[in-house]
């Protein structure tokens, strides 16, 4: 009987339930019934009818067995806006800026909401690259922890208010305040500065105090002394043949990593192996930073010896006689040699330091001056404004707060209670400030102590401008209407200042103010456009604008004091560093960045104490205090005790340990709160400001084991050489360490020893020719083996049409991880949380394997981005019982998520282990109710609630529980490229399709393209003799090619 749903009918006959209608309604198909006689008589009809019955029966059973398809609502535009075509993305040029972090971006929006960040190719500074932080910034727009409107403090929580109410309260407060302080991080916006000036003019007792979460104040002060500008010069890493960095992580987090990485990589790529030339990079540090892992030589000095290390180089280069007692001998010898090299490459070298001691920075400036670098590799005609913090001013402000003389404190884009050196003092004395206003978007430690929140827009909802360097501007434009009732901080200041320059009745007052500012400012300084509107349209379209640069101030020597970092005789020293993904806690609330594995330690969801490890000469890698990965220890710094998990770090200097900043936050939403330990209150206060190390550190023995040790790569070394205890000879420490018995043969080493597979190839630049020959030999041998196949003759299967492939230049890859976050962003990859990552259930499609090679005590590092290799002879395709994974005619290994039943045979068979299985319901994309462990007790899985879902890419399926997923070579972008080419009536060009990992890379390490396109960029890259295919000998015919890693290590510096 036909099921009847009450009160619904489809026609008059249905309503009256007439007989003939009911009869026809019951029949599933319109054609007449097939009789048994027909079936048996006509043979050709027989098969069809049988199939009809079979198909119908099966289909009916399936439909009956399945659940009702949930009703989804699709609401089309009634009046479609001109620019929006549903299904086609719009790109807007904007800028990612957060304090001093800067990256010009193109924001990809779909149906009016931003979903992906790309780099802006037109930027002369970054050249189109991005960083992991920039890639993840789109997610923070959809943060469920954001303030939804202006708030007033109500006990421990917040109560809503309106902007009108808030303005009234603030005006009365402003009138009655004697001293007003506005604490902010680096602000590079000329228009925002204008707004602040209007504010401080209206309230003359107001002062703006700028500080940076990781301070560069000493560098700025030194430049002020030597050059008269309190700014950072442009460092031209591409022009430097020798780079010496004293603890400056310029590739990861120091000042402008995207810019520096792009420039640095230019000097590292090998184009011609016969005339191989690459820069020499020496890092002087104690812990293995991202930059240090890319360096050719690392000179190990304890954190307290950084001062005398700089002083020694200063002595050698300039010829001075500063005392360098306390510097270890090895470093002394190495630095002497380096000084010699520097002097011989004058004008082509670069010395930088991250020290927060003015005298050390003055010494570095003097070194650079003596080497003739100013004007060559260091350019002061375009000073960078990416750090403007002033430690002295912050200290004064904190003193004022402690004395109770500040009546009103405004905090804009800063979290001083957590990340400044005076965090604890501020937390204790903020109650003395009568009124505190925060502009924060999300609640944080400082905002939690404030009375009023006037939440700022996210940068994707804001108007603004950025003057990152003198004469180089970048605009911020909104890509979505403000999601919540927030207001731009600059506008708030203008309103409170009663500014006449802003008209609050306009729809977007700050936009008008910004335009006015540009009209009276930048428009006048150019001659290309005659009307302001055309100028503005052009600049807004490009997103970047460069006016002429000024002249360069000359170096004026200044007296260098003797107060530098003093070496300590302490047994264990600890250094603190800023990670690529967390900064100093600014990004704790971003799950993509929390889950991103730290490039060096390969840990996530917390900070881990990096302890030194060495080879005992027999068979074990022994860590400090016999600690192994995942052990818990009690770390005592000064009087503060904390329990931290440990990770063994190759290259960590003996007598030192290190731990990352930016964790242990208490108010960071439900992602970042209570993850890791806070070390911001363990900094050493130097004469100028905080120094990021501490000499009174003790590490206990193992106190336990961490429950969820979330490290994604346990294997660290790949062929490191150590000294054998018995024979004193150099042996392969990897093989000795891994084997605990020698198969009763007396020979150490195990079958298929790790180093015998073609995973990575390395070479020193001096022996390049020989090593390339060795590589070619091994490739020939592998190819010979591969040619012995039973089913031959299929080698040309993909020679017609497209054959998609990828080339990864390991000499350009610095391991920054921007590509991993870009892939997560583009492909709706779920975030699984710490517990799942510790069970090896992380879902990132693209991982960056990090291997140490060379000397076991002071190794070199190689980063290898590993994604699905799209093997033409894929071992995964053969074993799927339902054929969910198959090969396209263009060489792509495809994954049909709907077909997958989750047998995981393909994941087992994959030799590269790039397939990811949805072990639990991470996405709520299936018929089962949400029933999974959460990141932090939310009610639906992350990215399944309605706000966070807005970041999902509509072109990519969200996978259900029980389905395998993997890199698809951004097949949605390939299809988009094909459609665009088809619409334009032309063939698809190699450069039309760029994968997410390719576009996000700051150094251009990844190239995707058509292997069959002889004129394409990929084909050119595939000509290099340095190329090899990972695990070529197993005959899977991978489509991804890597290059041999060439380093420029000088063995004499290690002696």
């Amino acid at each position: 009987m036909k099921k009847q749903i009450d009160n619904i009918w489809i026609g008059q006959k249905d309503l009256t339930r007439e007989d003939d209608f009911m009869n026809t309604a019951e029949k599933e198909f319109a054609e007449e019934q097939v009789s048994f006689a027909d079936m048996t008589s006509n043979l050709s009809g027989n098969r069809r009818d049988f199939l009809k019955f079979l198909g119908f029966g099966l289909g009916a059973a399936t439909v009956a067995a399945g659940c009702d398809i949930p009703v989804k609502k699709a609401i089309p535009y009634v009046v479609k806006p001109d620019q929006i075509v549903p299904g086609v993305a719009n790109y807007y040029a904007s800028t990612f800026v957060n304090g001093g972090d800067f990256c010009p971006v193109l924001v990809k929006t779909r149906e009016g909401r931003p979903i992906k960040i790309e780099g802006n190719d037109l930027s002369p500074i970054t050249g189109g690259g991005t960083s992991a932080r920039a890639q993840a910034s789109v997610l923070s727009l959809y943060d469920t922890n954001r303030f939804t409107g202006p708030k007033l403090k109500d006990g421990a929580g917040w109560k809503d208010t309106t902007w009108v109410e808030l303005d009234k309260i603030v005006s009365t407060t402003l009138q009655s305040s004697r001293n007003i302080r506005l604490i902010t991080n680096t602000n590079m916006s000329p228009t925002a500065k204008k707004a602040m000036t209007e504010f401080t003019t209206k309230y003359p007792n107001a002062k703006v105090v700028t500080y940076d979460p990781v301070s560069c104040s000493a560098l700025l002060d030194a430049n002020q002394k030597n050059f008269g500008t309190r700014a950072i010069p442009t460092y031209k890493f591409e022009a430097a043949d020798v780079i010496v960095s004293f603890n400056a992580d310029f590739l990861g987090s120091w000042i402008s990593p995207v810019e520096y990485a792009a420039a640095y990589a230019k000097g590292r790529k090998i184009d011609d192996i016969t005339k191989a030339k690459m820069s020499k990079h020496i890092q002087v540090e104690s812990h293995m930073s991202l930059t240090g892992s890319n360096a050719d030589n690392r000179i190990l000095v304890k954190p307290s010896q950084q001062g005398v290390a700089v002083a020694h180089l200063y002595n050698e280069v300039v010829g001075a006689g500063v005392s360098v007692t306390g510097l270890n001998d090895k470093a002394k010898k190495a630095l002497t040699k380096i000084a010699g090299e520097l002097k011989s490459t004058s004008g082509k070298s670069l010395v930088v330091s991250a020290s927060n001691n003015v005298n050390e920075q003055l010494m570095v400036n003097a070194i650079n001056h003596a080497l003739g670098n100013y004007g060559a590799t260091i350019d002061f005609s375009t000073p960078s404004y990416q750090r403007q913090g002033n430690d002295a001013e912050l200290k004064a402000c904190v003193e004022e707060i402690k004395a109770g003389s500040v009546d009103l404190l405004l905090v804009c884009g800063a979290n001083p209670v957590y990340d400044s050196a005076f965090g604890k003092e501020l937390a204790d004395s903020l109650s003395k400030v009568k009124n505190k206003i925060s502009f924060a978007q999300v609640n944080d430690e400082t905002t939690d102590l404030c009375d009023v929140v006037a939440p700022n827009h996210h940068f994707l909802e804001s108007w603004g401008d950025v003057e990152v360097k003198k004469g180089h501007y970048s605009l911020i434009q909104p890509t979505i209407s403000p999601l919540f009732s927030t207001r731009q901080a600059e506008l708030s200041l203008l309103v409170w200042a009663g500014s006449t320059g802003v008209d609050v009745t306009k729809e977007q007052p700050y936009y008008e103010y910004l335009k006015e500012s540009w009209k009276s400012g930048m428009f006048g300084g150019q001659s290309e456009f005659s009307t302001f509107q055309s100028f503005w349209d052009s600049v807004l379209h490009d997103g970047v604008y460069s006016s002429g640069s000024g002249s360069s101030p000359s170096y004026a020597s200044a007296e260098i004091g003797s107060d530098i970092t003093k070496p300590s005789a302490s047994e264990v020293e600890i250094s603190f560093f800023e990670t690529v993904h967390m900064a100093n806690g600014q990004y704790s609330g971003n799950p993509w960045l929390m889950e991103m594995a730290d490039p060096v330690t390969r840990t996530s969801w917390g900070n881990y104490l990096a302890v030194p490890v060495n080879f005992d000469g027999v068979r074990t890698m022994v860590g400090l205090n016999d600690l192994v990965d995942g052990d818990l220890v009690e770390l005592t710094i000064g009087t503060k005790k904390m329990v931290v998990p440990v990770v063994q770090q190759f290259g960590q200097m003996h007598g030192t340990v290190s731990i990352a900043l930016g964790y242990g936050r208490t108010q960071a939403g439900n992602t970042g709160s209570n993850v890791g330990v806070n070390v911001n209150d363990c900094l050493t206060m130097g004469p100028n400001g905080p120094a990021y190390y501490n000499t009174s550190a003790t590490v206990s023995a193992k106190t336990g084991k961490e429950d969820d040790f979330s490290c994604v790569q346990y294997h660290h070394t790949i062929g490191v050489k150590g000294i054998d205890k018995e024979s004193g000879k150099e042996i392969n420490a990897d093989e000795a360490a891994l084997v605990f018995f020698d198969y009763f043969t007396g020979v150490k080493g195990f079958q298929g020893a790790l180093t015998d597979r073609s995973v990575i190839y390395t070479s020193n630049v001096t022996e390049l020719k020989g090593r390339v020959e060795h590589l070619q030999e091994r490739r020939k041998h592998a190819q010979h083996l591969n040619a012995q196949q039973i089913y031959g003759g299929f080698d040309d299967m993909y020679s017609l049409g497209h054959h998609w492939g990828m080339h990864v230049d390991l000499n350009a890859c610095i391991g920054c991880g921007a590509c991993t976050v870009a892939c997560m962003s583009e492909n709706n990859v779920p975030v699984v949380g710490k517990h799942e990552v510790s069970r090896h259930h992380e879902m990132t499609w693209l991982r960056i394997d990090r291997y140490y090679y060379g000397d076991v005590e002071n190794p070199n590092t190689i980063y290898q981005p590993m994604m699905c290799q799209h093997c033409d002879n894929a071992p995964c395709e053969n074993v799927c019982p339902v054929n969910a994974t198959n090969h396209s005619s263009e060489g792509l290994n495809q994954m049909a998520y709907n077909r997958c039943i989750g047998t995981r045979y393909c994941a087992n068979n994959c030799p590269y282990k790039v397939r990811r299985f949805n072990w639990l319901d991470y996405t709520k994309a299936d018929i089962w109710p949400a029933n999974q462990p959460r990141l932090q007790e939310e009610s639906v899985p992350f990215m399944a609630d309605n706000l966070t879902r807005m970041v999902l890419n509509p072109d990519v399926t969200v996978r259900a529980r029980g389905v395998i997923e993997k890199c698809s070579f951004c097949v949605q972008r390939i299809q988009e490229g094909k459609l665009t080419a088809k619409t334009e009536g032309r063939a698809l060009r190699d450069s039309d399709v760029r994968t997410a990992c390719q576009t996000s890379c700051p150094t251009g390490a990844i190239t995707f393209g058509d292997m069959n396109d002889k004129k394409g960029a990929l084909h050119a890259k595939l000509e290099s003799p340095l190329n090899y295919i990972a695990l070529e000998e197993i005959n899977v015919r991978s489509s991804v090619t890597y290059t041999m890693k060439v380093n420029n290590r000088d063995k004499s510096l290690d002696a």
Binding site: E836, N878, P881, G902, F917, I927, G962
Partner: protein
């Protein structure tokens, strides 16, 4: 009725039993009420079975993540256990088939129990290829129904069809030997 005793070989069944007595010996357990020990054993078995059913349902509800498997090997207990139970099943088949070929008469004392055990072992094994699937509710995709996919017959369908074949064969052995018993019971 007296037992038929052969002069050429030793009697297979000792104790001078008649056919009727042997039938009684074999069938009496099905007619008597179960003993206390049997009931206790049964209750324990059912408890363990229901725990097993609960575990399977929990797996299907929550996902394979509840098993704590991980990379780089995504199988452990599931497929290993499957192979184990298939092995047990082989033991029963061995007794029925190989021992028959080698004319080992002593097998008759154990082959009923062995074949019954084999059936259950194969049933148990057949569970695993189903419950280890991430999306068991789509298990019908394994079946070779007509579809647009040209390629069919990959390696990993072998466990499914192999198990099916084995279970068919496993059922055939007790079928042939069991019809006798069923006839006897039916006479009672």
């Amino acid at each position: 009725m007296s037992a038929v005793v052969s002069r050429l070989r030793k009697p297979l069944i000792t104790g001078s039993k008649t056919y009727h007595q042997i039938t009684e010996d074999l069938i009496s357990p099905t007619e008597k009420t179960p003993t206390k020990e049997w009931v206790i054993g049964f209750i324990i078995s059912v408890a363990v079975l229901s725990f097993g059913v609960f575990c399977i349902l929990w797996t299907i509800w929550v996902g394979i993540g509840s098993w704590n498997l991980n990379r780089t090997i995504n199988w452990s207990w599931d497929i290993t256990n499957f192979v184990w139970w298939i092995g047990i099943g082989h033991a029963g088949t061995l007794i029925s088939a190989i021992l028959l070929l080698f004319r080992q008469k002593w097998r008759t004392g154990v082959n009923r129990a062995a074949e019954a055990m084999t059936i259950f072992a194969v049933m148990c094994a057949g569970l695993f290829p189903l419950i280890h699937m991430g999306r068991i509710w789509l298990a019908m995709f394994i079946l070779p129904y007509p579809n647009t996919r040209v390629h069919f017959g990959p390696i990993s369908t072998l466990p499914y069809f192999g198990t099916y074949l084995q279970s068919v064969l496993t059922l055939l052995f007790p079928y042939y030997s069991g019809t006798q018993d069923l006839y006897r019971i039916s006479l009672q």
